[in-house]
Amino acid sequence: MPEINIRDALQMGHHEALEGDPDVLIMGEDIGAYGGAYSVTAGLLDEFGPNRVRDTPISEAAFVGAGIGAAVGGLKPIVEYMNLNFALLAFDQMINIGASLRYMSGGQVSVPIVYRAPTGGGIQLAATHSRSYENWLAAVPGMKVVAPSTPADALGLLRSALADPDPVLVVEHVLMYQRKGMVPDEHFTVPIGKADIRRPGSDVTIVSYHHAMITAMEVADKLAARDISAEVIDLRSLRPLDMPTVIESVQKTNRVLLIEENWKTGGIMGEIAAQIQEDAFDYLDGPIARVGSEDVPHPYNRGLEQSMLPSSDKALAALSTAYGI
């Protein structure tokens, strides 16, 4: 297969799911006639019809909850949010119902639903359309959350999400839909809960995911120019977390840099840092370096927004402060 981008990979995943399982249906705002706000579902309405590719009213609680009910009733719904920021209107559905039914019912009820949502900042949409909330949802037992940063992971994780008997949120960074990469020709899946070492190294472990992976790779390049070998880990799954891969790396490198786009306060890297110090404290040569977005609402102005988001300069500065490298 030639190189394809993340949007193509997701579209392929939707197409094969609709084709392969009559119980799969997609629902969301403007996913049909309009083709999807980010064109992931473009063309599917024509091929599969309005019963399986459903435009919904702008009623997040109703259509997300209906997706959950449809999953309980034996269907395999993919529910697309136009933006993860709009999921705030349906947190009750996702958390109190979707993520809780199995436990509250003592194991009687399964909710095999897939939520998908664009997320992230960097395109000047200001405070209400730019935030990354996937870490909040990853804090909820009963949820699974994945965040692909390559086309192969997007397809492989979507396949795993569709095969999963529990609710899975797939977050897609708005700046990454056109990011290209190789996708294997033969059928493959990417397991949920497994991180990927994108670049092996020996001097410092960089942990990141999603769009911040681009920053992480930049940092690794800059360090390489100084003969510092960075191991870069793409978490890919935020719940469950693949901590063994992270810990093993830290035991080898003794230095850690964590990069995410969430607000630093309450970001998922705080959890990663806590677990590293619990399980690998004696291996650390210094404090864990950590970079996230500045703790302010997203500004509209490009310069302000860029200075709010994580960057390789900020990451290198944090690394220098922590380890003097």
Binding site: S59, F63, R102, M104, G107, Q108, V109, P165
Partner: protein, 328 residues
């Protein structure tokens, strides 16, 4: 709507309605006792006074239909066929309860009977019911979803969103409003723009509306039968409002300072059990003795349920970690 269906139902069916309603009443009264003895904890919301609705409405359903309800859910669970022992054990938090002690009073489930809760965020369960209706429609099972909701849900966004969605997609479902006139301690007319006038609340969404006497099980059954038949035939959702009254407070911790004793007495005169027994006795379909036998038999059922719950084991510690995900 007044019921005129007495003659058309068989005696056994009618006595079965009485039996179910009495079972719920006794179950609730005994649960209340167990709560005051500290054997049931958390919140306990009793259904006493509202039995005609769950029993009348659910009696119209088939196995393939789904039921979803709010947190005052014991009556619906029992009417849908949950074993009173299993229900009581759940209230006690025991391993033998419907959710193995993980759900409690507000979250009763019995998937084998398509009974999907027991939900305790007001109005939050309406979309779930719509989704169950959507699955039935999509799979063409002929099933419908019956969704009970309290008057508190009428001012929640989910109510309006879900009625609209159900109407647009012609979902086979019934929105059944149990209007017991108070959202916890707040009288509905104090917090609703139309003074708690909910009889046509489905109309803005193009949904047929019916008002029924919530203390009359036969009237409830008749109204629900029509709505279920319509929904099953593809005519789309229906909305039914039944005015009713909870004989106890919102929960067991409610001192009930917000309504008058006179109002309570007026409603107790229309106790749904007496309404039905009067109808049956008047038409010579039963005798006082027969009704007494039914009550005794249900007293025994509930006694056994309490004993079962008391004698059942606590969940083991490892149950804490099971059922978070499949395969746990």
């Amino acid at each position: 709507m007044q019921a005129e269906a007495v003659d058309t139902s068989s005696k056994t069916e009618l006595l079965n309605l009485y039996q179910q309603m009495y079972l719920i009443r006794e179950f609730e009264e005994r649960s209340g006792e167990m709560y005051t003895r500290g054997l049931i904890r958390g919140f306990l919301h009793l259904y006493s006074g509202e039995e005609a609705i769950a029993v009348g409405a659910i009696s119209t359903l088939e196995d393939r239909d789904s039921v979803v309800t709010h947190y005052r859910d014991h009556g619906h669970a029992l009417a849908r066929g949950m074993d009173p022992k299993v229900a009581m054990a759940e209230l006690f938090g025991k391993a033998t309860g419907s959710s193995k002690g993980k759900g409690g009073s507000m979250h009763l489930f019995q998937a084998s009977r398509n009974f999907y809760g027991g939900h305790a965020i007001v109005g939050g369960h309406l979309p779930l019911a719509a989704g169950l209706a959507m699955a039935a429609q999509y799979k063409d099972t002929g099933g419908v979803a019956l969704c009970f909701m309290g008057d508190g849900s009428m001012n929640e966004g989910e109510f309006h969103e879900t009625l609209n969605l159900a109407s647009v997609w012609k979902l086979p479902m019934i929105f059944f409003l149990e209007n017991n006139l108070y959202g916890m301690g707040t009288a509905v007319d104090r917090v609703h723009a139309k003074g708690g006038d909910f009889d046509m609340a489905g109309a803005p969404y193009g949904i047929d509306c019916t008002v029924v006497d919530g203390m009359d099980v036969l009237a409830v059954r008749e109204a629900t039968t029509a709505a279920v038949e319509n929904a099953r035939s593809g005519a789309g959702p229906a909305y039914i409002e039944a005015k009713t009254f909870r004989f106890h407070g919102h929960s067991l911790s409610d001192p009930v300072k917000y309504r008058s004793r006179e109002e309570e007495q007026e409603w107790r005169k229309r106790d749904p059990l007496s309404v039905l027994s009067d109808q049956l006795l008047k038409q010579d379909l039963t005798t006082e003795q027969e009704l007494l036998e039914i009550r005794k038999s249900q007293d025994e059922v509930v006694r056994e349920a309490v004993k079962f719950a008391q004698d059942s084991p606590e969940p083991t510690g490892d149950e804490l970690y099971t059922d978070v995900y499949a395969g746990d």
